[in-house]
Symmetry: C2
Subunit: 210 residues, 2 copies
DNA sequence: GTCTATAGCTGGATAGAC
DNA sequence: GTCTATCCAGCTATAGAC
């Protein structure tokens, strides 16, 4: 990718971070990128196409950066721990709240909807892979729809990123609460064989019920 | 509230639903309301103030409409069931995705941030009240930060509403997965006295560990 | 209170010099 | 490829008629 195209992509992300999706324009992006406004229409067809490209590029980079950590996850608690660390580390750069903003902007432009959908899908696939590795064969997998669970987890994180924008302390507290939920999951995971058998029985019964 | 003010509030919500936060303007709102554009500046100081007022009014109405259902909740599973029903019923009117859109727009305007924060807080308080009623005295309450949990649940629903905008089928699946989680919660809730005692011991240990 | 009209600005987009 | 200059649409906001 040419230098200017890259600057535009970076500038687009910076502009969304600073002004939100409702405050971005060709001019604010060009200013953030330090280049001329007309170049957006030369390199991309318009603002929305640039936003779509930036969204996909940024998400691909972040997902790739966390691939190793996801691969090392060995329990649901560790998965939540990776999510928490990811949130903390990306907060400064705002990479995740950008995705939330673009998701909101997807309401207006169809191509942006396609791009943000694909970007979010990258996170979902990563989470789904981990969940399959962790849960396949476990009692819970009998009733759990793992792809659905992966989507729920990913969507929840998006919501948290938006929430952080209006109440950082509250978002921190919410994240800490998820950690406590993870403790509960770990505890259930560590139940002795008797309790575990009881759990499995009840899960099977629930699964048959529907 | 005068008739025109009410029409403007309704129009603002309709415009956000249709165009997203990035696509609303005094003109699109006035068109949706069927009134003259200048009235926005007469009745409210500008677009952002109208959006803030609409956000608070709509949220207050929806929270009040669900107060009885929240009051009747007697288990975590029932709480999730209310959330699911709420999502289904509000989908057509789009009342919740409007809140998500305005939360995204809060990045741009400080007053809008204050209003959306207050609106989301209404939901959080409702959930928090239910969680206190259900969990106070239960083993899990020893490690759970209930206000944090209420914020996590509320933020997760906001994320789901945004997700619905780009992938309705995926959002449905995510919601169904939460239902399955609720089954798990119910099962743990229904564990026999032996397993329950083991659970409590482990939770206490985890609480001491921090 | 509501309308028309309009000032003044910002935005997307393109033409054309370099 | 990049810049300047510019067109025009749409936006906020106000003035003033009714």
């Amino acid at each position: 990718m040419s230098d200017t195209k890259q600057r535009l992509v970076d500038g687009a992300l910076a502009a969304v971070r600073e002004h939100g999706i409702a405050g971005v324009s060709a001019r604010t992006i060009a200013a953030a990128a330090g280049v001329n406004q007309a170049l957006i229409f030369y390199h991309f067809r318009g603002v929305d196409e640039l936003l779509a490209a930036a969204c996909l590029a940024a998400t691909r980079a972040r997902v790739a950066a966390y691939a190793d950590e996801f691969a090392d996850v060995r329990s649901l608690r560790e998965l939540l721990e990776v999510g928490r660390a990811l949130h903390e580390r990306e907060r400064a750069e705002g990479n995740l709240s950008v995705l939330a903003q673009l998701l909101a902007g997807a309401q207006r432009d169809e191509r942006l909807a396609a791009a943000t959908g694909a970007a979010l899908r990258l996170w979902v696939d990563e989470v789904e892979r981990v969940l399959h590795r962790l849960l396949d064969g476990a009692p819970f997998a009998e009733i759990a729809d793992i792809p659905g669970l992966a989507r729920a987890v990913s969507a929840a994180f998006i919501g948290l990123e938006l929430y952080e924008g209006i109440d950082a302390a509250g978002a921190d507290r919410a994240l800490a609460a998820l950690d406590q939920l993870a403790v509960l999951v770990e505890i259930v995971d560590d139940l002795g064989p008797v309790s575990r058998r009881a759990l499995r029985t009840r899960i099977s019964r629930a699964a048959r019920r529907g």
